[in-house]
Each structure stands twice: as C-alpha cells, then as structure tokens.
C-alpha cells in the first residue's frame, strides 16, 4: 500500500504548512478577551432603545441581521427539499416501502425496557422545554433554532424507544412538511406586511411593549416563533425522510 503511504506523506506536508500559517495568523488576532469593536457597543445601546429586547443575540438575529436569518432559514429549507429529492427511490433501486440491505452484524440494537419506560415521560417534558425556550427567545438565551433542535430531538426519542412504525404513527410527514412551509412563508409575509405599511422589509410594525415581558420587542418574538416552527417541523421532516430508509428491518433480529 505504498500509494496510501505516499498520499499520507503529501497530506502531512500540507497539514504542517497549513498548521504553521494558521497558527501564525491566529496568534496575530487581537489578544484573547480584549475585543475592540464599536459594532457590539452600538448593538447594546440600540437593543433597548429601538426594540426593548433583552436578548442581544435575538436582537442581532431578528433585527439587524433579520434578512440574513431569512436566508439561513431558507438554507435549512432547501437542504430538506434537496434531501427528499436525493432520497427518493428511482426505478431499478430497492422499491418504496422496502428496507435497504443492511451491513451484516450492524443492525440496530433491540430497544430496551428502560428506554421505553423513560420515553413517554421525557417526550412531553422536552417538548414543553422546547416551547419555553422558543417563546422566551427574546428574553433569555435560546430562540427559534435552539427550540427547533430540542423539539425535533425530543420526538426522535419515539423512534429510539419504539421504532419506525411508532414514529410514523406519531409524526405525519405530510403535515410536518405543510407546517414547515407555512412557517417559512410566514417569515417572508412579515417582511412584506412591513413593506406594505411603508416601512423597510422586516422592519418592526408591532408595539414594542415593556422589556422583560413576554409580549415585547415588537416583531422579534413573532419572527422567532415562526423560525422555531420552521426548524422543529423541518427537523421532523428530515428525520422522517432518513428513518424511512430503515423501515424497522433488522431491529434486534440480527444479534
């Protein structure tokens, strides 16, 4: 295997060269803990003045960079659409509804009793936690993307404990796709409503409220909630697409 050794040698030369230049440039950054930018201080001052929002991250994401967050959401949406396209069955392949051949000896382990006991207790609690993180996104650390990850992972536990058919039974993929699309469209609609009212795209059009209260910060909480809905249901669509590949085959009958 001299070809492999040659390849590793070339790789190591490249890695050492890259490591040296990377280290040199990293050491030339500003001293750790001593960032000097005026952008951040201005964001701090503007957050309370312009939006009465407590979480500065939410302020950056849904006000200053609201358009970028729209792009971000659509990267996620496009990835899910692409994933569904890539995973569709073509003629000549294993047919729809049939499981793929598995690597011998690598089947999923049989679900154990403890997981099956814990899951029904954890799933609702985690979904509640996710919703909490979602609706308080403009007040405390968290927000739409984080909440989406929590809710999506919570419902993935159903698959871990009870297998594909239970997941399929609980999660209706057509509906998750619909909610995801509506939430993504809602984000754009918020921007268009602002445009129609004479303001800039995605500008605030709602009363600001009082800092620290649930209904404050104008459109930030609404954009945040829409993002959370899009991400959590998008995550479920993604899971449903991947899990369809397994079709429950080989669960515990291969060990």
């Amino acid at each position: 295997m001299s070809a492999t050794r040659l390849r590793t040698g070339v790789l190591l030369i490249g890695l050492v060269a890259l490591g040296l230049t990377l280290g040199w440039s990293l050491l030339n950054l500003h001293e750790y803990g001593d960032i000097r930018g005026s952008y951040e201080t201005q964001i701090e001052a503007a957050a309370l003045r312009e939006r009465r929002v407590a979480n500065l991250d939410a302020f950056v994401n849904f006000d200053y960079r609201a358009l970028d967050t729209l792009g971000e959401e659509f990267i996620f949406l496009t990835a899910i659409v692409g994933l569904s396209l890539v995973l569709r069955r073509l003629p000549g392949e294993v047919e729809e509804g049939q499981p793929l051949p598995m690597i011998p000896g690598r089947s999923a382990p049989a679900p154990d009793e403890l997981t099956q006991w814990i899951t029904p207790a954890f799933v609702p609690a985690l979904v509640v936690l996710g919703v909490y993180v979602l609706i308080h996104g403009h007040l405390t650390p968290g927000g739409g993307f984080q909440a989406g990850a929590i809710i999506g992972s919570a419902l993935a536990m159903i698959y871990v404990a009870f297998g594909y058919s239970a997941f399929r039974h609980t999660i209706n993929q057509e509906k998750t796709e619909a909610v995801e699309a509506v939430a993504a469209a809602g984000y754009i609609a918020m921007g268009l409503v602002a445009l129609a009212s004479g303001a800039a795209f995605l500008a605030n059009i709602l009363p600001l409220g009082k800092t620290g209260e649930l209904y404050s910060a104008g459109t930030i909480w609404l954009l945040n909630d829409l993002t959370g809905a899009e991400v959590s249901f998008g995550f479920l669509t993604m899971l449903a697409e991947f899990l369809r590949e397994t079709q429950d085959r080989g669960r515990g009958d291969d060990g």
């Binding site: 890259l18 280290g23 957050a47 990267i75 007040l139």
Partner: protein, 115 residues
C-alpha cells in the same frame, strides 16, 4: 497561555482535516467535516470574548455599566451551526444513495470502481 482558545480552534480544524483525508468510510468523513466546522465555532466565540464579560442578556444588567461578550459573533456562530446541520444532512442523504447503488462506503473502493 492567553492564546490557547485560538490555538484550540486551529488544532480542531487540522485534526478534522486529517480525519477527512485519511477516512475509510464516507459517514466517518462527514463527521470529520463536522469537526472542521466546530473549529469555526470555537474561533468565532473566542474572538468575541471579553475579559469578565457576561452573556449578552439585558434583563438584570444595564448596558454601559456591565461588560458583555460580543453578541454579533454569537449570532454568526448560530448561522454557522444551522448551515453545518444543513450540509451534514444533505451529505448523509447523498451517502445513503451511494450505499443503495454501490453497497460500499469506502472512498478508495468507490474510486477503484470508477477507473
């Protein structure tokens, strides 16, 4: 060692790159790509750190009198994570397709079959 967070980012980046180049399985390779991406999170967050700074939440703290870490790089790290998740999902989907057609995930075996 005040520069340790920066050097950690560089180290994680290089380790992930090494893993990607020497990987014998496509799934493993995608995981190595995630490691490379994690380096960017470390770099972003450590470049925005301010000595003694608090999390940028204004509930009990007033701007001006309190120091906060930079919220802008935190928001960028969030974007980074979302893009990373999207890329990983798409790559894994492509790998499922490769497995369906070729029944192997070894990059070397796939290259041999091509030639």
């Amino acid at each position: 060692m005040d520069e340790l967070p920066y050097l950690t980012a560089g180290w994680v980046f290089l380790v992930g790159l090494y893993g990607m180049a020497t990987s014998r399985n496509l799934v493993h390779q995608v995981m190595c790509l995630s490691v490379v991406q994690s380096a960017t999170y470390v770099l972003l967050l450590s470049s925005g750190y301010r000595q003694g700074g608090l999390a940028p939440i204004l509930i009990d703290a007033k701007p001006g009198s309190t120091t906060f870490v930079d919220p802008v790089v935190q928001a960028l790290a969030l974007t980074d994570i979302v893009v990373g998740a999207a890329v990983t999902a798409l790559l894994l989907a492509i790998i499922v397709r490769v497995w369906r057609v070729k029944h192997t995930l070894d990059p070397d075996a796939l290259t041999r079959e091509e030639s």
